[in-house]
Amino acid sequence: MKGNDVILRTVSRIVVFIILTFGVELFLSGHNNPGGGFIGGLVLSSALVLLYVVFDIETVHQGVPLDFKKVAAFGAMLAVLSGTAAAVLGHPFLSQGFGYFDLPIFGVTELTTVTIFEAGVALTVIGTVETIILSISKDV
């Protein structure tokens, strides 16, 4: 007797968007609120985990055609490079800068290089978590 995943799938489709939005918000607002690259990345990857559990690897891969290994590598490299950039510019390694800018749409916004660093962190987290889960799952 085969069943139908319709309930789970329909709800998950909605839920995933909520999680994703929440993840991005966590990532971006971490500087002043709880959150940040790690947690943002973790939440984003848990959204993907939900997709993998509810759907299957191939379906999700069609939707998100990413090589997560490379995402992870790129993220980690970005984190290291953001530190190196400061060194190249003559500051101590990993010096972060921040400032307040008046941007066209966003208004007065605080921009900091930490965000680049945190983006690296987030990408690594996403890439790694998915790599691990996919590696194990593909082994079945």
């Binding site: 509810v54 299957d56 690897i57 379906t59 889960i133």
Partner: protein, 94 residues
């Protein structure tokens, strides 16, 4: 008085969790245990809401939402594990 009421609520939630932990240990079936874990998740979430009010801080709102999200994901994962032994399939064969 408000605080006392909240403390009472918190204690009630924690008792619920104690019972759920008992259910996890007793079982008898796997779904029973998963239901109990799910229950713990949502009760923790409620507890945190109460604690937030007690401490008068908004810092834990994210945690509440995240707990909701994760207890859902966890329950789905456990259910799928119980059902198929595999929680992520390569291709859904149907």
């Amino acid at each position: 008085m408000v605080n006392t009421l909240m403390l009472i609520a918190l204690i009630l939630f924690s008792f619920t969790i104690v019972i759920a932990v008992y259910r996890i240990i007793r079982g008898p079936s796997k779904p029973d245990r998963v239901i109990a874990l799910d229950m713990i998740g949502v009760n923790l979430l409620a507890s945190i809401a109460v604690v937030s009010c007690l401490l008068e801080t908004k810092a834990f709102m994210e945690v509440i939402l995240i707990l909701g999200i994760l207890s859902f994901i966890g329950t789905i994962a456990f259910s799928k594990y119980i059902e198929r032994g595999v929680i992520v399939e390569r291709r859904h064969n149907r």
